[in-house]
């Protein structure tokens, strides 16, 4: 389906918006069906793209093996450290919104890491594994400052930044039995 024909064939505003994003992301429209998104390490489109295919393969091997060694538990460590890092960020007069990116910033902010609040190496690995987008956003905050947002918007931003697996899964509607 082309971008031009998309508008005519897709009925709802939601379908049109999502179809456009799929088209831009994948180069094709997959149907726009509701799905529970779980972000992969590397999208298939990139996995096949030269010249980084070697890097992708090697990166996934390393990540997989580290996962087998037990480092996957670092995701829970990130969650557990969030309240501590939040307090630390507030103490340094960062805005409440910046504190939502706290873990990434804490990792790269010497004043916090230096206090022994977190183990920098382990959390850097965990951020790269689980929260790369949050890390990027924290870099932007450090460069560009912060501004206040409402609770509702902050909640949604966190969901977007922390990954698709956190977006609520749509309810499963059982199909009627047929004789």
């Amino acid at each position: 389906m082309s971008e031009q024909s998309m508008g005519a064939e897709l009925g709802t505003p939601r379908d049109r918006a999502i179809a456009y994003l799929e088209l831009r992301q994948h180069g094709t429209y997959k149907g726009g069906a509701e799905k529970h998104v779980k972000t992969g390490l590397i999208p298939d489109k990139v996995r096949r793209t030269e010249p980084i295919v070697d890097a992708v393969t090697a990166y996934e091997q390393v990540i997989d093996r580290m996962g087998q060694k037990g480092f996957e538990g670092s995701q829970q460590a990130l969650e557990n450290l969030r309240p501590q890092a939040y307090d630390a960020m507030r103490g340094m007069q960062w805005g409440a919104r910046a504190a939502d990116f706290l873990l990434t910033a804490a990792i790269w902010f010497p004043g916090i890491a230096g206090r022994g609040l977190i183990k920098k190496g382990a959390l850097t690995w965990a951020m790269m594994r689980f929260r790369p987008l949050e890390w990027v956003s924290a870099q932007a905050v450090k460069l560009g400052g912060t501004h206040a947002t409402t609770e509702t918007v902050a909640h949604v931003l966190n969901k977007i930044l922390q990954g698709g697996e956190r977006v609520p899964k749509p309810p499963i509607v059982p199909k009627p039995m047929t004789a």
């Binding site: 505003p13 456009y20 060694k69």
Partner: protein
């Protein structure tokens, strides 16, 4: 595109505010948020890996005895501290936000 005027967070916040005010159902909003999240996440690691020394990464992958958190962090420091990577990443994620803004207009939100 207003990359120079607004940060990534500013733009994403504005987008979320527009969607919240759209009158769409929560189900529709969540579907769009999931798509935005998936799209944004999909562009980050590829850019980082583009600036990662491939030979060192392959060496780590081929030597199970070498890989550790410390070794991984040392390796990733290189792309993460490369200003060109930051520039490319910034341009890439702002490009995604350009697409999201276009998508909102196609969905009648703008």
């Amino acid at each position: 595109m207003n990359t120079k005027q607004a940060t990534f967070e500013d733009r994403l916040t504005d987008i979320v505010v527009q969607i919240e005010k759209s009158g769409w159902t929560d189900e529709d909003k969540n579907a769009l948020y999931a798509k935005i999240s998936e799209y944004l996440h999909s562009v980050v690691l590829p850019v980082i890996l583009k600036f990662t020394p491939v030979e060192e990464l392959k060496d780590l992958a081929n030597n199970p005895a070498k890989d550790s958190v410390d070794a991984f962090v040392e390796l990733m420091k290189k792309p993460l501290s490369n200003p060109k990577m930051s520039e490319e990443l910034n341009a890439t994620i702002h490009g995604v936000l350009d697409d999201v803004e276009t998508a909102l207009s196609k969905g009648g939100i703008s």
